[in-house]
Point group: C2
Chain length 208, copies 2
DNA sequence: GTCGTTGTATCACACCCGTGATAAAACGAC
DNA sequence: GTCGTTTTATCACGGGTGTGATACAACGAC
């Protein structure tokens, strides 16, 4: 068997370069040449691992989505079963999970930044359309499941309409992320965290 | 006096062409050539009215912001003083005002689409940075004022923290708009409207 | 060693871009 | 009519883009 130390890790190295370029200059700057430079590679090398820049960009977006969902699953697994906790703690754990989608630290900030760039590009670039649609459905599924479980265990009010609340919380999360990315001096990590918790608290059952 | 039938309206015609191009293909497609084609003009003509494409794009973004705020002021003026209305009506009027920032019809859909493209571009394009920052402050001022007045006239609960609530409602609005633009099959005008009203209703004072 | 696969590195081509320079046409003032 | 300004229209240049083709180096199998 010939060389082939690790073809897939090389691809991920290039993808990391894509992320750095996108972070710095947006998706439009992510040309083969700039990405190759960022990765310290020659254009020919990059083209050896990706047959076209379209494939590279799609692969990069997919890698970003995988990374996010992996971190999400890890977090959910860490927190374990929360159904026995008191309602306040339940909401706290729910916030902990959802916070993985917010740019609360440097890693997540980078992820959300790249995410926003890709999904907004998907509006006019058919290359990303299906991935963006899948991502949108994915966050809604997560948000809905989170709210459903909270409601089943009296963590939030029983009369809330889950369709509306799912869309409301999803919009809140996306809006927080977007604002934190675009206006970090206005919306910092603390603000994101405070708003998310305030929202979940506002759904708590009435005192009796 | 020479020709000069109307220099400023010509500029606005070009700006309209910019909007159509951005709607169709995103900001990156808005080159001088494509814009000139869309406007039915020659590149030279466009360049006669705008010394550089940077000036054109800035002017276009400013025009879009002016258009939005003009419609907003008109709407506020239409609704007039609401302090005498019952709380439910007050919140309804507040929703009517804020709904001007959501893509509820074709006109607003186009505006929000272009808006999102410009402000996201502002992250990596210094040309738009100041305008995007101004816009962010503007929406926050509107949201805050709306909430403040509601609170003063018992339209929403008196114990709500306006800082947090302003940021929460702002994020909700931005997130709704973003999702409606990116995933219109998931988030339509009816959903936007329902979520906004549900949010304001959730702020209503407790029954007594 | 030779061979063949894998990885690197360059060249060239056609395309689109913003912009400077310049010419030509259109039009009002006189 | 002439003159001068405004508007429209072209050309050319340098730079960046993706991609096809191709050559060269590196390395394991044999």
């Amino acid at each position: 068997m010939p060389k082939q130390i690790d073809a897939s890790t090389r691809r991920l190295e290039v993808v990391d370069a894509v992320f750095r370029v996108v972070m710095r200059g947006g998706l439009e700057r992510a040309s083969l040449r700039t990405v190759a430079d960022e990765a310290g590679l020659n254009i020919g090398s990059v083209r050896h691992y990706f047959t076209s820049q379209q494939e590279l960009m799609r692969f990069a977006m997919q890698a970003m989505l995988d990374r996010v969902s992996a971190r999400l699953l890890r977090r959910i697994d860490e927190l374990g079963d929360v159904s026995a906790l008191p309602p306040t703690r339940q909401r706290q754990r729910a916030a902990d999970v959802l916070a993985e989608l917010l740019p609360l630290d440097e890693e997540r900030h980078a992820e959300v930044t790249v995410f926003i760039d890709f999904v907004t590009a998907a509006r006019t670039n058919a290359t990303f359309a299906d991935l963006a649609a899948k991502a949108a459905l994915g966050t809604r599924a997560l948000v809905r499941q989170t709210l459903t479980r909270l409601q089943q265990t009296a963590g939030i009010r029983p009369d809330l309409d889950l369709d509306t609340e799912t869309e409301r919380l999803t919009a809140l999360m996306d809006g927080l992320g977007l604002n934190a990315i675009l206006h970090p001096e206005l919306v910092g990590a603390d603000t994101c965290d405070a708003v998310l918790r305030a929202h979940l608290d506002s759904l708590r059952p009435a005192r009796r």
